[in-house]
Subunit: 114 residues, 4 copies
């Protein structure tokens, strides 16, 4: 039973060490691996209509959950080797976003004016 | 203070609801948003040597932490709208990987024979 | 006036050489840069409905064309440093796909059973 | 023999039409497919050292060329459905970059101050 992000960090660090993978897991490589997994995740959705994507069949749903797990694993490994506190960084970002997108001003607009 | 993934899920759900963003946050769109943020993350590393990526200057390190936070936020939102338990999915994937890459057989090999 | 992919290859090679960027343009870094640009491209579409994406406003259409140009530039640079003939590789892939997805058998099915 | 991008556009348009794939090939989906292929491409390089990536073994080199072909195919399809002239857009972007990164000022600096 993995209890949370700290626990997951410890488990994945040991997993890498036991397999002598630490030399592969430098920040640059882990960022690439995360991007690769994000590509696999987005590919699962590419030919689905928005409606199909909201009512996934069980097989695809399971593959998608596994791709999401892969993204999380590389994100956690990257945070570990960079000594980044993921939850703290996310708190900061949410606080920034709360200023950029105040509740009154932004309701109804797209999340990001890209 | 965000205590963990469950807490983050709740915070982000409220953040989206208050801004009327739920109609944008369907699974297909969230997967795209995650891929976009993964692209921004990998771009931070693209011209760095592996050595530079291991000794980041503070400004870049902060930008990278913020990109990682963005990836985590979309991953957690996607898990929420798909009703996927991220930690459970990750446990399953780690168990799979432990079988695919036993400690004795894989030490020294690249993490994945892609 | 750039006449085609060969011409573009020559132009981009000179562009990099004149700026002393060749040491950044190794295959690994160029693949990352391409993934980063693909992320920016997909991000342009992330909050659009399929209908909105088919009737883009001029500003977004121009940004999208610029992102597509960035993808092409890194793809051409990567092909150059790897000495890959892009059109030849694409011919081979199309021939493969023609076998995998014969006209009679696949009509009506999603392009790829991922 | 595919002679260039225009020719490739025509070939891929027919390929999609013959298989009734046009309804999948909307701009949003094609951007996702391109991002997915860019993810597969970057994944080929993720565990390689920069040196290994410059001296690829033949099997990996072939897989990489095939992934690059996939990126090109979706890029060309996307340009087709959006009616974007890829080479023209690239010319514009190169002209912009020539202004942003003049030869004298930027030599020795990283290609992009991201």
């Amino acid at each position: 039973m993995i209890a949370g992000l700290d626990d997951l960090t410890t488990v994945l660090r040991a997993f890498a060490r036991e397999r002598d993978w630490e030399r592969f897991h430098n920040p640059k490589n882990l960022a690439m691996a995360l991007a690769g997994e994000a590509g696999e995740l987005v590919a699962e959705f590419q030919w689905l209509t928005p409606e199909e994507a909201e009512g996934l069949d069980p097989g695809r749903r399971e593959r998608i959950a596994a791709e999401m797990a892969d993204v999380l694993q590389y994100l956690v490994r990257l945070a570990d080797v960079l000594n980044v506190d993921l939850l703290h960084a996310t708190e900061l970002k949410i606080a920034d976003n709360a200023k950029r997108f105040p509740v009154d001003g932004s309701a109804g607009d797209a999340p990001k004016a890209r």
